[in-house]
């Protein structure tokens, strides 16, 4: 067992433990912090897979953006010290069973599929090659989805402002 294997199992255990804590803890602020740790673990997994660009994007967008947004909304809407009510057994038991059977089914599929790994060709996910191909207009280029996503982000930004804007009293119908 080499260092890379040990590192993978450590990262996997870290992600899963923090993920389970994020969905089971009863204090909502702690739940957000456990989610933050889990997302950092996923960024570590991307580093382990030799994908430093994706790991950086993961840290910047998820850890620096989405989790901070979630924590802001917790502060705006909740008393963060309060415990949430315990979920009733009639809800946890069926959902645990559904998750368990779905898990077993998927693991069974993955285990018996027999993926043939392609080891001969060098994987080249440097920022240089990602940028060249992402903004390429020719064969296999992704410039059109890139522009569409930028429009989507603009629309989402305008939509957020419109939804969360306070309507003045005299303007309400």
């Amino acid at each position: 067992m080499d260092a890379s294997t040990i590192l993978f199992y450590t990262i996997a255990a870290y992600i899963l433990v923090t993920g389970v804590l994020a969905v089971t803890t009863r204090k909502i602020f702690r739940s957000a912090i456990w989610l933050l740790f889990s997302l950092i673990g996923i960024a570590a997994l991307y580093f382990w897979m030799d994908l430093p660009f994706i790991a950086a994007v993961q840290i910047v967008v998820y850890v620096g953006g989405i989790v901070v947004l979630i924590i802001f909304s917790i502060f705006l809407t909740q008393k963060s010290g309060d415990q949430m009510p315990k979920p009733i057994l009639g809800r946890t038991l069926p959902s645990a069973l559904a998750s368990f059977f779905g898990f077993v089914f998927t693991i069974n599929l993955i285990w018996h599929h027999g993926f043939i790994e392609n080891k001969g060709i060098l994987f080249d996910p440097t920022v240089d090659s990602i940028g060249m191909q992402l903004l390429n207009t020719g064969e296999g280029g992704y410039i059109l989805p890139f522009e569409v996503v930028s429009m989507l982000l603009l629309a989402a930004m305008v939509g957020c402002i419109v939804i969360a804007m306070k309507v003045k009293k005299e303007e309400t119908i």
Binding site: I15, F53, Y62, A98
Partner: protein, 104 residues
């Protein structure tokens, strides 16, 4: 002990997806539901990166899908939080049981 490969990463992401699904079914608070959805999206992202790295190393399409999913997840989280704040203003609660006007 076999060396760590695609199957191990897929099993990890499957675990994470069903953890997120369990959270989605048991939680009754909209913000925690959103967190569970984020966990599920992240597990799918791991799948894209792993398939790209281990099965098609000559292409980069999985990486691009990964980046686009992260972007769309950010937009989705922002819109969801705007809706949650608006719901809190009108109902004074963000529990899904308290927002049942359109249920039947």
């Amino acid at each position: 002990m076999i060396s760590v490969g695609l199957t191990h990463i897929l099993i990890l992401s499957t675990c994470l997806f069903f953890i997120g699904m369990y959270g989605f079914f048991t939680r009754r608070n909209l913000i925690t539901l959103l967190m569970s959805v984020e966990l599920m999206l992240n597990s799918v992202n791991i799948n894209f990166a792993a398939f790209n790295k281990y099965l098609f190393p000559e292409k980069l399409d999985g990486i691009f899908f990964n980046v686009f999913i992260i972007t769309i997840a950010a937009a989705e989280a922002a819109v969801a939080i705007a809706i949650i704040i608006n719901l809190y203003r009108s109902h004074n609660s963000i529990d899904v049981e308290d927002a049942g006007e359109m249920k039947y």
